[in-house]
Symmetry: C2
Subunit: 304 residues, 2 copies
């Protein structure tokens, strides 16, 4: 029996008669094949990537597993429709804290259609993509059993300044993230989630080394998901911190050139994360917590 | 006595009543302060950079020395005009082979004026800047005493494909670069000029490490000059291969963010140079030498 995913933080959502992805209870994620070029482009990517023997295993693990395509009952009631069958990245997770970070100062390929380029360029300039090299595209932090998740609305955190982005990245690994935005994030989980030999920074650096070399694909408008379990850390268990790349509707052939646009954005994200690990106590001076009070839109309950 | 530089490969040139840079016989380069914001912006950069104690010496050596400003007789006959006084990067060189490579897929800052942004964006899309992350902006190769320099016209090599760019970068370190474009470049100087512990690649990697960390400046429309003496290599001497950054009229404050745009382009250039070192014999299959015959415009004699 397919159902709407619990922890989708960005993208089209199923429910209320709308078309969106579904999950089953065996760890698979069903993403509707978009009717325009995007669907076929994403299918082309997954097909190419899954059979490409030049992708090392330590890089392949950063991508969702691909199980082909399947006709399933679409969430909008339109009957059987083709879906990409992918790994459900939240399968087995309990109360995941998740960031969806769209990488690159440019979300459009040189060969894209002019209308699409102009639309993307406008958004890249209006958001933090152009100045910072990435933008937050989805965000949920688990607070605790009583308060559930803090899940600010997407439009409210895409155009942040560098200091505001840093504040969000700090809140993501803080024990005191809550509805009370006057609290400075304590970053008490920074060293265990972002740092360490298997932490987020280490994974980002592995990905970076591959991007410095690979000239197979250029990833436009692709996101890095960062996920971990805050409850596990609080209870002294490993945080299951991991990164995954998602959204490949705008992947093109690299044709012998590295993906300098993705790499630049990735290096910028790495710099932000590194700084939080090395100076977790540093208070941001320019962005006050109150400045982003406007970003706090609604809360929803956790699943436990 | 000031004179017109012998080896300027890009930018406004003095002579024929036009305003351009001049050099003296003591190793100084006089660059007219452009009347618009660019001149004052470049002066601001040099003033800030030269007094900034956070710039390590191994990075400072990649920038021209700055000696302040001075009123000198302008090359266009307009009388005494303010000039930046800089290090003449070709002082002491005999027959330098030089590439001017404008770094970054985007040559405009987010805060630039709209007209300027649109002009730059158009050019970035028309040239190799957008797809490759940099574009050749100046190019001269010393051939030998008889043939002098091969100096194709700028407009002819800015919109190259990746394979064509690689061909130019290979020709730059070949002994058989000549008017005869049917010859495949032999890359016989690749290991000594690009490679080695003090070669171009090593210098580019030092610069890259700094750009992964520094958030002081963002360099838009800035070039890396790559220079060496082909005659020296042919005679078994050291090639005096070095990189220098030039053109800082569009440098802005980094404000806590790395220069992901410059860094991405730099990493792309590094990948091209690395591939030539590791596979100097590889023939480019997609770009035939005849394809760029159109680029060969004129020759001038060497200085020895």
């Amino acid at each position: 029996m397919l159902k709407v995913p619990n922890h989708q933080v960005a993208g089209h959502k199923a429910g209320d008669g709308k078309l969106g992805p579904l999950v089953d209870d065996s760890g698979r994620f069903y993403k509707p094949l978009q009717g325009n070029d995007r669907g076929s482009n994403e299918l082309t990517f997954y097909t190419s990537f899954s059979s490409n023997t030049r992708i090392p295993d330590h890089i392949r693990r950063f991508f969702p597993k691909f199980y082909g395509t399947q006709l399933v009952e679409a969430s909008d009631g339109s009957g059987l429709q083709p879906h990409l069958v992918l790994q459900d990245l939240n399968f087995g997770r309990v109360n995941p804290s998740i960031m969806d970070i769209k990488i690159g100062s440019r979300t459009w390929a040189p060969q894209a259609l002019e209308d699409y380029i102009q639309k993307c360029l406008k958004k890249d300039r209006e958001t933090s993509s152009l100045p910072i090299g990435f933008r937050l595209s989805g965000f949920q932090i688990y607070q605790n059993r009583e308060l559930g998740f803090w899940k600010p609305e997407r439009t409210s955190f895409q155009s942040l300044s560098a200091d505001e982005v840093k504040l969000f990245l700090r809140k993501f690994v803080s024990s005191n993230t809550s509805a009370n935005l006057d609290l400075q994030p304590d970053c008490s989980f920074a060293s265990i989630v972002y740092g360490g030999s298997t932490g987020i920074l280490s994974q980002l650096l592995e990905l970076k080394a591959w991007f410095e070399d690979q000239t197979i694909y250029h990833f436009y408008s692709c996101s890095i998901l960062i996920m971990y379990e805050k409850d596990f850390v609080s209870n002294g268990k490993i945080p299951c911190a991991e990164i995954k790349l998602i959204d490949f509707a705008h992947v093109y052939e690299g044709k012998g050139v590295i993906d300098h646009n993705f790499l630049g954005g990735l290096c910028s994200l790495i710099k932000f994360v590194s700084e939080i690990i090395t100076t977790p106590d540093e208070c941001t001076t320019e962005a006050s917590p109150k400045d982003i009070q406007k970003n706090q839109i609604y809360f929803e309950n956790g699943t436990s």
